[in-house]
Every structure is written in structure tokens, then in C-alpha cells.
């Protein structure tokens, strides 16, 4: 790893200053599970890394039924998964955050890191998309909000300007008859990057027989985690049946535009897009009904 300086900060202001003065090549360090590996391999350069784990707003996970869930950008996966409110109201998020690496990685890797690393295969992002999550971004100019589905712009690229910091992610309060799920396909049973990942959320009518709305997003089938609104548009108002779900899965498959790489071929990913879309929708419906 190239030589660099390290700064541990305690407030957002303290973090923004060096980001905005533009003098240094800065990287934000929370869990470091991607950053340190990339610095070592020379994929990423930095001459200053700012450790934000001691900034209270960045590590808090708070919930109230009016505003919903707020997750600090530096909060590690394990903290999110073990949060009582998340466990009770957002099992679909637990699905995703509990998949990111083994226990050792879970205890470090953060939601902000997963977003800012902007991997097409990121597990957390499709799950956040189907939960209509919004990124809260700070800069000396103030604060702006970006829906998660718009946060990543290309592999490794996001909407963040050099002077901006991802502070937190907000998820709307839980609704009635709402269910969400995320699952991925990997060759082993752990320690792999998704060949394809699929997140879905559905809201059903009181009887649980009709889709009022639905959202579906896929990982690893496009340059960025892929939100597929067509699936929701198709399902809205339709009756819940294996046929409609099959058809929705085919819409997802059609929207997927994967490449072949060392983790899977385009053809395999196309197939898996449909399979996982179907399975994750079924699970989401199951959850919406309880």
C-alpha cells in the first residue's frame, strides 16, 4: 500500500473541511473491507484517509413509526442486522445485510461503504431500492437527498461530488400488507460475490390477494444495481398467482443486461434473473400476508 496520512474525526463538519479544500486525495474509511483491499492492490489511490467511525450521526441506527428508519452511513452490517426495529419491521433488509461477507466482514462493512463502493453486485443496494430508501448527502453547501436507485452511476462511481459525504440512508416507515425479500445466487454457500441478486417488495390489498404495488431490483446484471419499474407497473392491480409472478419474473429477465465475467456468463445470469425474481417475489408475498 502507498504511504498515506490518517485522520480520525468526531463530527461531520470536521470531515467536510478536508473534503472541500480539494488539496488532498481523500478517501473515507468506515469498515475498510473494500477500501483497504483496493488501496493495497493499487485499484484506488489516496494520500489521506478519514476514519468516520467516531462520528455519532454516522454510526447511529434509529427508528420511529412516523419517520421510519435512519441508518448512519458508517453503521456496520452486523449492527443493522441485530437492531430490534430492523429485525421487526424490515426483514427484507436483514436478508441483504446478513449476506455481505462472513461474520468478520459483517462486523466492519458498512451500509455507506456498500453504496459508495458502487459495485454492480452489491447486495445491500437492491434491497434498499425496493424499500424506497433515500441517501442523505452533506456538503458545505448543505444537504441533498438522492433515491438509492439513482446513487450509483457506473461500476465504482456514484453521484457524490468530491466535497460531499454520504451521511445516512432513510427508509420509509413500514406499511400494512407490505413484504420484502432479498436473495442472491452464489456458487458456494458463503464468501462469494453475487452471480445475480434479486430484491423485491410488494404491498397487497387487505385480503392479500391483489398486488397494490411492487418493486423489484437486481444485482450483477447491469453496470449498476438495476431497478426495474416495469415489474411494479405490471404487477400493480393484478391478482397474486404463480402465473403473474412468473410473468413478472420474465419482465425482470428481459430488463437484465448482464455481461460474462469470471463469476458467471451472461446467459447464466439471464436465466438466474428470472429464477431469483420469481423466488424473491414469492417470499415477499409470503411476508406481506403475515
Amino acid at each position: 500500500m502507498q504511504s498515506l496520512d490518517y485522520l480520525s474525526v468526531r463530527s461531520i463538519e470536521e470531515t467536510l473541511a478536508p473534503l472541500s479544500n480539494g488539496k488532498r486525495h481523500v478517501k473515507i474509511l468506515s469498515g475498510g473491507t473494500d477500501l483497504l483491499v483496493q488501496l493495497r492492490e493499487g485499484i484506488t489511490q489516496a494520500d489521506l484517509i478519514i476514519d468516520v467511525k467516531n462520528v455519532p450521526e454516522l454510526v447511529e441506527v434509529t427508528f420511529n413509526s412516523a419517520e421510519g428508519l435512519r441508518i448512519g452511513a458508517a453503521a456496520p452490517c452486523s449492527q443493522i442486522c441485530h437492531n430490534a426495529a430492523v429485525l421487526e419491521h424490515y426483514p427484507g433488509l436483514v436478508d441483504a445485510f446478513s449476506l455481505i461477507g462472513g461474520v468478520q466482514i459483517q462486523n466492519r462493512a458498512s451500509i455507506g461503504g456498500n453504496l459508495c463502493n458502487a459495485s454492480p453486485a452489491a447486495d445491500a443496494i437492491p434491497a434498499l431500492i425496493v424499500h424506497q430508501a433515500v441517501c442523505v448527502i452533506s456538503s458545505p453547501m448543505g444537504e441533498r437527498r438522492v433515491p438509492v436507485e439513482q446513487f450509483c452511476t457506473a461500476p465504482g462511481k456514484t453521484v457524490l461530488r468530491p466535497d460531499e459525504l454520504l451521511v445516512s440512508v432513510h427508509i420509509p416507515p413500514p406499511r400494512h400488507n407490505f413484504g420484502a425479500h432479498y436473495q442472491r445466487f452464489i456458487p458456494r454457500n458463503e464468501m462469494d460475490i453475487a452471480v445475480v441478486g434479486a430484491g423485491a417488495s410488494v404491498t397487497l390489498d387487505e385480503e392479500g390477494n391483489t398486488f397494490q404495488s411492487a418493486r423489484l431490483a437486481l444485482a450483477a446484471v447491469a453496470p449498476t444495481p438495476l431497478f426495474i419499474p416495469e415489474v411494479g407497473e405490471f404487477l400493480a392491480g393484478k391478482g397474486v398467482s404463480s402465473e403473474t409472478i412468473e410473468q413478472a419474473a420474465l419482465i425482470a429477465r428481459a430488463a437484465a443486461r448482464p455481461i460474462s465475467d469470471l463469476r458467471g456468463t451472461a446467459e447464466q445470469r439471464k436465466k438466474l434473473s428470472a429464477v431469483l425474481a420469481k423466488r424473491t417475489l414469492e417470499k415477499a408475498v409470503e411476508r406481506a400476508r403475515v
Binding site: S3, R40, G101, V103, R108
Partner: protein, 164 residues
């Protein structure tokens, strides 16, 4: 080129420790090369094998993915801190009894990981043990005897705690 070293004050295996390190040095590198705690092993240096596992403020981490400067004011437990003054920790004893090691290189990481598991979940199922240990690679044993050793440790420790 070398940047100015930083002074870090931390607690390792219950002892206050101070050291100087470059920001780019990992906790693993400092444990092994600066502090002489070579029980933590480097198997991959990018978080995929678990041989460097340590417990940082109570949670299991790969010390290769922690910068040494990050442990300022925090507490680290390494494999050297698992056995107590009275002797081996039950997990270490069970690893021996079950022949849960062959070459022994991944063993410190597995023992630290298993300790962290049992601290958090004293009565894990086989599935839970296998899931927890999936961040640790062993190439010699096929995991069979390791999983048995961890399950047996849980039983023994449960008995001990009921006795007390």
C-alpha cells in the same frame, strides 16, 4: 517513502500497550512484526481466509482489514489471549481432543472465531457453527472435526456454567 509514525495506545489481551506505526500498516502487521504476537497468521491479507482473526471491542474481525491506527483507545484479544492463567480455554482443549487441526496454521483464527461465536451464542446448532465459521478457511480437515470440537465445547461450557 515513509510518513511520520503515529503513536497508538491500546489494550491487547488485557494489557495496556503503546506502539508506533505508519498509517498504512495493518493491525495484523503490527501485531506480528512490531509486537511479536505471531499467533495471528497471514493467509490472504484481504479478508477471505480468517487466519488473522482477532476480537476487537468484543466483535470478530480480520486484523488484515483493520489499520493499526484504528485500535487507538480500543481493546484487542488475539489467540495469545485466549488461554487463561489456569490453562487452556475449553475450545483449545476440545480442538486437541477432537484432532480438529492438522497443519495448525488456520487453527488460531478458528479458535478466536469459535470463542467469539460461543461468547455470543453459547448453544449453537451445527448449521450455526458452519455458518459462523464460513469466514475461516481450512484446507486440511474438511471442517468435520472442527465443527465437532466447537459443538462439544458448547456442551462442556454449558455444564460448567450450570455447576457454578
Amino acid at each position: 517513502m515513509m510518513t511520520k509514525k503515529l503513536h497508538v495506545h491500546t489494550v491487547i489481551n488485557g494489557e495496556e500497550v503503546e506502539f508506533l506505526c505508519e498509517p498504512r500498516q495493518s493491525l495484523l502487521e503490527v501485531l506480528r512484526d512490531t509486537l511479536g504476537l505471531t499467533g495471528s497468521k497471514e493467509g490472504c491479507n484481504n479478508g477471505n481466509c480468517g487466519a488473522c482473526n482477532v476480537i476487537l471491542d468484543g466483535s470478530l474481525v480480520n486484523s488484515c482489514l483493520v489499520l493499526a491506527v484504528e485500535v487507538e483507545g480500543r481493546s484487542v484479544v488475539t489467540i495469545e489471549g485466549i488461554a487463561g492463567p489456569e490453562g487452556l480455554h475449553p475450545i483449545q482443549q476440545k480442538f486437541l481432543e477432537h484432532a480438529a487441526l492438522q497443519c495448525g496454521f488456520c487453527t488460531p483464527g478458528f479458535i478466536v472465531a469459535a470463542k467469539a461465536l460461543l461468547d455470543q451464542n453459547p448453544n449453537p446448532s451445527e448449521e450455526e457453527v458452519r455458518h459462523w465459521l464460513s469466514g475461516n478457511l481450512c484446507r486440511c480437515t474438511g471442517y468435520d472435526k472442527i465443527v465437532r470440537a466447537v459443538l462439544d465445547t458448547a456442551q462442556v461450557m454449558a455444564l460448567q456454567s450450570t455447576k457454578r
